[in-house]
C-alpha cells in the first residue's frame, strides 16, 4: 500500500522509525524540538521521543556538531539537523577534520555513525550567503558518504539507510521541496546508498541530475519528448560514492550526456562525472559532454539575477539539441 505524503513527512518517518528501533539514535539541532523544526521536518518528534532524544541547541554549529561527533564515537548514533547547509560551514572543521577522519586516525578502533542533514541549495531570492549548494564540497572528502535526494520516496528510503550506516553521512534536502508530495509505501523499505535511479528511460541522450535540479532535467525531457527527442534521465541520489556504472551504461546506449546541477562549475559533480565517462566510455561518445551548473558567481538578490544564475529548462533543452547537433 502506498500513500501520497509530503517530503518533510517522508524524512520525519525515516527518523521516527529508526529512532523507535534503536535507542542510541537522537536528533539534535536548532529549533528541532519545541518549535517542531524550522521547516517542520521534526514536527511532533519532541512529543514522541522527549527531551532526551530530540534536542534543541543554541546557534552554535561548530559546538553542537562537535558534541554530536564526539557522542558518535562513544556509542550513540546522532542525527544532526543543520537549519541549512550554509550554516554547516561553521561546523565544517568537525565534519572534515574529525568525523571523516575518526576511523583512519584511530586505526579502525573508533567510528562516527552520524548523519548530518538539512536543506541545501538556493530557495528563492535569499542572497549570496543563503543560496549555496555544497554536494561537490563534501563529495571531495574521503571518509564521508554524500546523499542528495529529489523526492519523498528516495528521501525516506535513503535517510533510513544513512541512519543505519556506520560511517558519517551528509544528507542534503531542499527548502523548496519540503512541501512536494510523492508516493511512499506504508511498509518499511530501504534504498541502498550508492545507487542511482533511472527516473525516465530514453534512447537519444542521457541527462544526469540530482536534488531539485531533477525538476529541470525531467522538465527538459518532457519538452524534448514533444519534439520527438527521447531523453534518459538519471537521478544520482548518492553523490559519494558515485554510481558511475549506471551513467556509463546509459551513455553506451544514448552516446550523449548532459549534466544539470546546482553546483558551481569548478571541480563540481559534473566535472567528476565527465572525467569518469570519458575514461570509461570514450568510444561511445558522439558529442562532447556538456553541463549546466549554477553561474560561476555568488547569487544576487534581484529576481532576474536569480533566474540568470540557476539552470533552467530552456537552457537544458538547448544544450541537449546542441549535443545532438540539431542547433549550433
Amino acid at each position: 500500500m502506498s500513500r501520497i505524503i509530503p517530503f518533510r513527512q517522508a524524512l520525519r518517518e525515516a527518523m521516527q522509525e529508526e529512532m523507535r528501533r534503536d535507542d542510541s539514535i537522537f536528533l539534535m539541532g536548532e529549533e528541532v524540538a519545541q518549535y517542531n523544526g524550522a521547516y517542520k521536518v521534526s514536527q511532533g518528534m519532541l512529543d514522541e521521543f522527549g527531551e532526551r532524544r530530540v534536542i534543541d541547541t543554541p546557534i552554535a554549529e561548530l559546538g553542537f556538531a562537535a558534541i554530536a561527533v564526539g557522542a558518535s564515537s562513544n556509542g550513540t548514533r546522532p542525527i544532526v539537523e543543520f537549519m541549512t547547509w550554509n550554516f554547516a560551514v561553521l561546523a565544517l572543521d568537525q565534519i572534515l577534520n574529525h568525523a571523516a577522519k575518526m576511523v583512519s586516525m584511530s586505526g579502525g578502533q573508533f567510528s562516527c555513525p552520524i548523519v548530518f542533514r538539512g536543506p541545501n541549495g538556493s530557495a528563492g531570492q535569499l542572497g549570496a550567503q543563503h543560496s549555496q549548494a555544497f554536494e561537490s564540497w563534501y563529495a571531495n572528502i574521503p571518509g564521508l558518504k554524500v546523499i542528495s535526494v529529489s523526492n519523498p520516496y528516495d528521501a525516506k528510503g535513503l535517510l533510513k539507510s544513512a541512519i543505519r550506516d556506520n560511517d558519517p553521512v551528509v544528507f542534503m534536502e531542499s527548502e523548496v521541496m519540503y512541501g512536494d508530495e510523492g508516493e511512499v509505501p506504508e511498509e518499511e523499505y530501504l534504498i541502498p546508498i550508492g545507487k542511482a535511479r533511472i527516473a525516465r528511460e530514453g534512447n537519444d541522450v542521457t541527462i544526469v541530475s540530482f536534488n531539485k535540479m531533477m525538476k529541470v532535467a525531467l522538465g527538459a525531457a518532457e519538452e524534448l519528448a514533444k519534439e520527438g527527442i527521447s531523453a534518459e534521465v538519471i537521478d544520482l541520489r548518492t553523490i559519494r560514492p558515485l554510481d558511475w556504472e549506471t551513467i556509463v551504461n546509459s551513455v553506451k546506449k544514448t552516446n550523449r550526456l548532459v549534466i544539470v546541477e546546482e553546483q558551481w562549475p569548478f571541480a563540481s559533480v559534473s566535472s567528476e562525472i565527465s572525467y569518469r565517462v570519458q575514461k570509461e566510455a570514450f568510444d561511445y561518445l558522439d558529442a562532447p559532454i556538456r553541463r549546466i551548473t549554477s553561474a560561476d558567481t555568488n547569487m544576487h538578490y534581484a529576481p532576474n539575477l536569480v533566474a540568470a544564475y540557476l539552470p533552467d529548462v530552456p537552457r537544458t533543452v538547448k544544450l541537449v539539441k546542441e549535443v545532438m547537433y540539431l542547433v549550433k
Partner: protein
C-alpha cells in the same frame, strides 16, 4: 520632567524612530504584496537602540550588524529610497539589487553591512576596529548582534583578541529575548548576557533598550572609552521585536500579553510624551513631522517602483574587483 537631553535631541529621536517604524510597516505590507521577497526581518520595537546610538557616535564612526539591518542602516544615514529600492531588488538599491533585505551596505555612510550568517559580524566588527587602530585614527566601531548570536564561539575568540589588542570597538548585543523561536532561557544558563564579558575583563553593562536616554548614556561612555584608546565595551541592550522573527514566523512561542507589555514601553510613545510634557513642540509641529515621514516613505516606494531592474549582465559583476576575471560559463 528633568532630562539631561534637550529639545533637539528628542525631536531627532522622535523623527528618526518614526521613520524607521513607518518604513518597516510599509515594508511589511509590500512583502505581503510580494513586492519584496526572500528573508525579511523587521526591526519594529527595537528603534530606540538605533536612535540612542546615533546621538552618541560621530558620522564617521563605523557600524556593522546582522540581517535585521533596515533600522540601523537608515539611522546611520542611508536614504529610505536606496533602501526601499534594495528591498525591491532594483538597480538603484543600496547594493544595486545584489544584497536584498539582509545585506544593506553603504561605504559612504560607513555602514559595513547586514550579514546573514549568525554571529559572523562579531569578528568582522573587531577587524574593522583593528584597521582604525592600525591607522591610528580615532574612529570607533559599533558592532551589533542578537542574543542568539551571543552563543556562537566566535564571540569568545573575538572578545579575547579585542581585549588583548585593545580594539576601539563596542559590542552591542540586542537582546530581544528570542532567537527565532528559541527564548534565551532555553539556550543558556547565563541569562545575563553582558556577563560573558567578565571572562575577558571587558567592561560591560546591561542597558534598557526601550529607552533612547539609557542607550545613549551607555553608548556615550563606551564610545569615549574606545575613542580614548581604552579598549572595547560590551553592552547588552534589552529590547523587543514586536513582529515575528521574519515574515514567515507566526511567533506562536510567546504570549500576546508579553508583546503588549513591551508595546506599553514603546520608545516612540515615550519620546513623544517627553516632548509634549516639556512643551518642546505643538501638536501641529508633531503633525508636520509625521507628515514629513509619511512623505519620505511614500517617495521611497515610488522611487523603488519606478526604478529599473538590474541588467542581466550584472550577474557577472561585483564578484571580483578585477573586471577581467575569466568566469567559467559552460
Amino acid at each position: 520632567m528633568q532630562t539631561p537631553f534637550g529639545k533637539e535631541t528628542y525631536l531627532y529621536w522622535y523623527e528618526i524612530m518614526l521613520l524607521l517604524r513607518r518604513f518597516e510597516e510599509k515594508t511589511g505590507q509590500l512583502y505581503g504584496m510580494q513586492k519584496i521577497r526572500g528573508f525579511c526581518h523587521l526591526y519594529i520595537g527595537q528603534e530606540a537602540v538605533a536612535a540612542g546610538t546615533m546621538t552618541a557616535i560621530r558620522d564617521d564612526d563605523n557600524m556593522i550588524t546582522a540581517y535585521r539591518d533596515h533600522g540601523l542602516a537608515i539611522a546611520k544615514g542611508m536614504s529610505p529610497k536606496e533602501c526601499m529600492a534594495e528591498l525591491y531588488g532594483k538597480a538603484t538599491g543600496c547594493t544595486k539589487g545584489k544584497g536584498g533585505s539582509m545585506h544593506f551596505f553603504s561605504k559612504e555612510k560607513r555602514f559595513f553591512g547586514g550579514h546573514g550568517i549568525v554571529g559572523g559580524q562579531i569578528g568582522l566588527g573587531a577587524g574593522i576596529a583593528f584597521a582604525d587602530m592600525y591607522h591610528n585614527n580615532d574612529r570607533v566601531t559599533v558592532c551589533y548582534f542578537g542574543d542568539g548570536a551571543a552563543r556562537q564561539g566566535l564571540l569568545h575568540e573575538t572578545f579575547n583578541m579585542a581585549m588583548l589588542w585593545n580594539l576601539p570597538v563596542i559590542f552591542v548585543c540586542e537582546n530581544n529575548y528570542y532567537a527565532m523561536g528559541t527564548s534565551i532561557e532555553r539556550t543558556s544558563k547565563t541569562l545575563d548576557i553582558y556577563r560573558l564579558a567578565d571572562a575577558y575583563d571587558m567592561p560591560a553593562d546591561s542597558v534598557d533598550g526601550m529607552s533612547c536616554e539609557e542607550v545613549h548614556k551607555a553608548m556615550e561612555r563606551a564610545v569615549r572609552r574606545a575613542r580614548e584608546k581604552g579598549g572595547p565595551t560590551f553592552l547588552e541592550v534589552k529590547t523587543y521585536r514586536y513582529r515575528g522573527h521574519s515574515m514567515s514566523d507566526p511567533a506562536k512561542y510567546r504570549t500576546k500579553e508579553e508583546v503588549e507589555e513591551y508595546k506599553d514601553k514603546d520608545p516612540i510613545n515615550q519620546v513623544l510624551k517627553t516632548i509634549m510634557d516639556n512643551k518642546w513642540a505643538t501638536e501641529a509641529e508633531i503633525e508636520a513631522i509625521n507628515e514629513k515621514v509619511r512623505q519620505e516613505v511614500e517617495e521611497s516606494v515610488q522611487f523603488a517602483e519606478e526604478s529599473p531592474w538590474p541588467d542581466d549582465s550584472e550577474l557577472y559583476k561585483d564578484i571580483y574587483v578585477d573586471e577581467n576575471y575569466p568566469y567559467i560559463t559552460d
